[in-house]
Symmetry: C2
Subunit: 406 residues, 2 copies
């Protein structure tokens, strides 16, 4: 049994016409001899509508009940889409999280998949041509509904592909692949044919909204080939796969950026062991993701601690830091939301020196001040003032010769 | 453990303010020392919105998928309402059909409850003060979602009350009880304190939209006391219960009517054995409910067959009868939608003669022509021209001395 998993996001199922496009993709896969698992998100706008209801009903909606609420979005999608397939006389059925036996932990609103009942799925696939699975949802061991967090449908799709050993997992979206950078701000951006899991992870981590980061981790772990493609055009898209030789030949694969950043500085922190832990442990406990961290050289036994967070976490972070400040006897807490992370990403960096130097020089030439720097094996990130974002992205894209046709 | 089941319809949960009224009812029951099972319908208008989507997507929506679709209505209600209870610090949780293990057959869109997992429910009740159960839905043995048909939430509530041996099942609605007739057309209509299951069945069957007929059958079978009351006022409502002596003392309990009627006549049917079966078997196969039936005296070996159906079934009925007509060599098929059924209902009729005579005389006095008649132990029904409905109801209500204060 050759199995193909296809996942369609909210814009791809937002109305009847769009669902008919999706139907064509399913029919095409059936023509090619596949059994198809189609994973659908909620119709676009629906999840927001439901979350808005929750906000009206409660200032802090119970997470378990929030999941019961928003899971209806995908349920509506799969029911409507399956009606189309049944009208064509196809053997199809909708499958909800609890029916596919997608078992998760009980971390409501951000659950993690523990297990998928492969036998049950294969049994349903034997009896049907198409299974239309509600993305984003699962159920905990107590059979309560859970959701995997925003964009979780990607993770559902990849996890299902891994469970049934699908030939490939096609993630259909409103863009036709992964680009060397954001085409909206750089007209020379080029669609990549292939990209490694690791590079994709860095792109996803930088807020390139093509694939959810956890779905890429999943794909990497279970070696699921993922194809990112467009619902509305017919191109092959971008294949996310294991690293191979052709990828390493390229020094830098792309330039990513993330404006959803805020820089925090805690001034005059007493410089003694355990200080970093004292600051970051309560943030971690509040599930606030801290990214770049810099500790200045100490002066008179005091130091400044600077780090970045997502802007949405700012209020909560400041609240927590007020407590920490008093406890440590630190100075004032400063923040700046007018910042942006810009990164050069590529597996080739490992074997090429000079990427960092080239990046710094380029930014300097454009008079862009670098506020913070962090590096990894396959990524160099600079925090800059937000207003320079487009200039930095375009210039770096040129310098690393990523443009179309090159 | 004293358990109270409370069911609230769509208008009672149509927005936040209404749900807060519902919350007060739950809190009151908790104050009285009950563990509470609250059964909710979809917010009013929601089921229709979903069915309209289904109609847009498919001319004949797959019934199984239609159930997956509309079941989201109740899911939204229970999630939002449970958020309110959780905000108060109550031990509450939502319970969907599959979680309450309400097992039904697989007759999608009109499933019947086979079994409820009582142990599971009692276990959940031990751990919680309030279970907020999605009405109208269950799941079949294959774990697919089913719904119980329009108004099925009443049946859910009564079935749950029977399963956990609840002290009472309170059905909250937008009217404050069961009336001797429709207060909208008869200002003298009086709210009844008590009514027997059998009389309630006749009222429900006549389209009095207070309780779903199957829920009353269920209540009768398992002897569940059902209280019909209003969400928006505090009165005791009407208790639907076993027949007792006080009930029998009253000859007629109420006057019901049903305008959703259509009279069909098949002319010149050859009068030979099996003819009635030939006409009504295909209608039954199409799930068309035939109510009053009259066969005229035979003339020249031909007879006229007249019967009533619901207006919504008219097109399908005419289609089926076209085939039957050709097969039997019958004459033309006539129909009339301007008709109405009016009934006098009461357990006391069994022991009082003359109810029928009184009814016929009364209608005659008002010059209302009786088109068809049917009788049972506790009901006498006349089909009349629709335009006389209000006059007939008011006059009969007077004649049988049902008015308030009498």
């Amino acid at each position: 049994m050759r199995i193909l998993v296809q996942k369609f996001g909210g814009t791809s199922v937002r109305n009847l016409e769009c669902m008919q496009q999706v139907e064509r993709k399913v029919l095409h896969a059936l023509d090619e001899g596949y059994k198809v698992i189609t994973v659908l998100s909620a119709m676009s706008g629906e999840t927001d509508r439901l979350l808005e209801l929750a906000r009206q009903w409660s200032r802090r909606p119970d997470p378990a009940e929030k999941d019961v609420l928003v899971a209806t979005g995908e349920q509506v999608s799969v029911a409507l889409f399956t009606m189309l397939l049944k009208d064509r006389g196809l053997k199809a059925r909708s499958v909800l999280g609890f029916q596919a036996a997608i078992t998760t932990d009980d971390a409501y609103c951000k659950a993690r998949i523990h297990e998928i009942d492969t036998d049950r799925l294969l049994e349903m696939l034997e009896a049907h041509d198409v299974l239309v699975v509600a993305g984003f949802q699962g159920c905990d061991p107590d059979r309560r509904i859970t959701t995997l967090g925003r964009g979780g449908s990607d993770t559902s799709a990849v996890a299902l592909a891994a469970a049934v050993k699908a030939e490939r997992c096609d993630i259909y979206t409103d863009v036709d692949g992964v680009y060397t950078t954001d085409p909206n701000i750089c007209s020379k951006a080029r669609k990549m044919k292939k990209i490694s899991y690791d590079v994709m992870l860095e792109f996803a981590g930088m807020g390139a909204k093509v694939l959810q980061i956890r779905s890429v981790e999943f794909a990497k772990k279970f070696n699921v080939p993922v194809q990112v493609r467009s619902t509305f055009t017919d191109g092959p898209g971008t294949l996310v796969t294991k690293e191979d030789d052709t990828m390493e030949a390229v020094m830098v694969s792309g330039i990513a950026y993330d404006k959803d950043q805020c820089r925090i500085t805690v001034r005059q922190v007493p410089d003694r062991p355990g200080i970093a832990a004292a600051i970051f442990t309560p943030l971690a406990a509040a599930k606030i993701l801290v990214d770049m961290i810099i500790q200045n050289a100490s002066l008179d036994g005091k130091t400044d601690m600077t780090f970045t967070i997502c802007r949405g976490d700012l209020d909560q972070t400041l609240e927590i830091l007020e407590g920490v400040k008093a406890e440590l006897g630190a100075g004032e807490v400063l923040y700046d939301t007018q910042v942006c992370k810009v990164s050069a990403i590529g597996v080739g960096m490992r074997n090429h020196s000079g990427v960092a130097a080239k990046m710094f020089t380029t930014l300097k030439k454009e008079n862009i001040n670098i506020l913070m720097i962090s590096t990894s094996e396959i990524k160099i990130t600079c925090l800059i003032e937000e207003k320079y974002t487009e200039l930095a992205v375009r210039t770096l894209h040129d310098v690393f010769e990523l443009a179309a046709g090159q």
